[in-house]
């Protein structure tokens, strides 16, 4: 199985490195849910709820946010320049070494 390493800092500030598969079509929101991290993913990955809001801490190259994602981030709270919706970031080799932090519940 193809895997990459991803570091996730939870809302308590605890950082942990995980192995994540790249061949299952998972996104960051789905990965967090699978890891039983406190990410709700309420809308199921349609960029419509911001419950998977994360801050990207590493400098991995990411796809540009879509209009839907930008719209949603406009209605979210605690938004920073490095804010992204986890559901819009699909796991692939380029994300090896990615570091993210879960944004506060808003």
């Amino acid at each position: 199985m193809d895997t990459i390493k991803i570091t996730i800092v939870d809302r308590e500030g605890i950082s942990q490195e995980y192995e994540a598969p790249t061949d299952m079509g998972l996104n960051i929101m789905e990965l967090c849910k699978a890891l039983e991290l406190p990410v709700e993913g309420t809308c199921g990955g349609m960029a419509l709820c911001a419950s998977c809001h994360v801050y990207v801490l590493s400098d991995n190259e990411l796809p540009e946010p879509s209009n839907d994602e930008l719209d949603m981030l406009d209605s979210a709270f605690f938004v920073q320049p490095n804010s992204r919706l986890g559901c819009q970031l699909k796991l692939h080799e380029g994300l090896d070494g990615l570091q993210i932090k879960l944004a506060p519940n808003g």
Binding site: E40, C49, D74, S75, G106
Partner: protein, 342 residues
Amino acid sequence: MAQNQTIETDIIIIGAGPVGLFAVFEAGLLKMRCHLIDVLPQPGGQLTEIYPKKPIYDIPGYPSILASDLVTNLMRQIEPFKPGFSLAERAESLEKLEDGRWCVTTNRGTKHLAPVIFIAGGLGSFEPRKPPISNIADFEERGVEYFVRNPEMFQNQKVVIAGGGDSALDWAIYLANIAKELTLIHRRTEFRGALDSVEKVMHLAEIKKIRLVTNAQVVGLHGNGKLESIEILHDTDGNFKIEADHFVPLFGLTPKLGPIAEWGLGVSSNAVEVNTFDYATTTPGIFAIGDINTYPGKLKLILCGFHEATLACQSAFKIMHPDKKLSFKYTTVTGIEGLPAK
């Protein structure tokens, strides 16, 4: 709808999303009447509120159907069974009556009486997204409004709207002519609403009908018993205060499980536990169907919710008519026999 009305029916359905709507059809085939309660002002739940123009690909028989079209079709499908609706009302409390029936009371005081309840609440009831300001709850109904219910109340008032989407823009334009002062605060410089609305807001800002504060957010609320001023944090200018009688944060809606969580049903991680025989909860007479329930192997699919609604109706019939035998019939054979209007 009049205040403190009492509605009697066979099945109270909490949530008028696709699964709640389809339950009316299956109940109707068994001659049971339904009444739906939903916090939103229109039926359809998430499909209408969150993604009306998105296609759904896994409704059997429809290679692709827009969410809003599925709701329209479901409404047509249940029309013969004349369901009742309590819309824009939130199911608030649950009570067992002496005659064995349940009573569900909404936030507007409407009482619903029935022997059976289907909870088809999806992700919960849609509530406004509230900005993370520590004392915001202290000013709710004392200056903080999450909806514009009655624009007239803002006449000659100092109003601050926050948000960057269509509803923030539309209300800023509308209230600019009613309020004494109107301030629109947005976190960024760009607005993502309809171009036409953005242009109107910019024009109203130029002629000083709207005070536009961008790259800023509201971080504090102040007042003695009622809102008097708000504190703004600007990205470059730092903190400042402006006078305000009303603060209207418009950041859209988000679903919350809400009062149902307090009803003593088995709830685990925001879902109601049910068995997979008939999707009954641990409380006799109360079923949970669709996204709100959980059981081993649960998938949150509309398709699965339809199945759950169908089986729950079989058991609802047995509760309603303990002495009658239910014989299974195909609609192809029997057709649809509607219920008379009540």
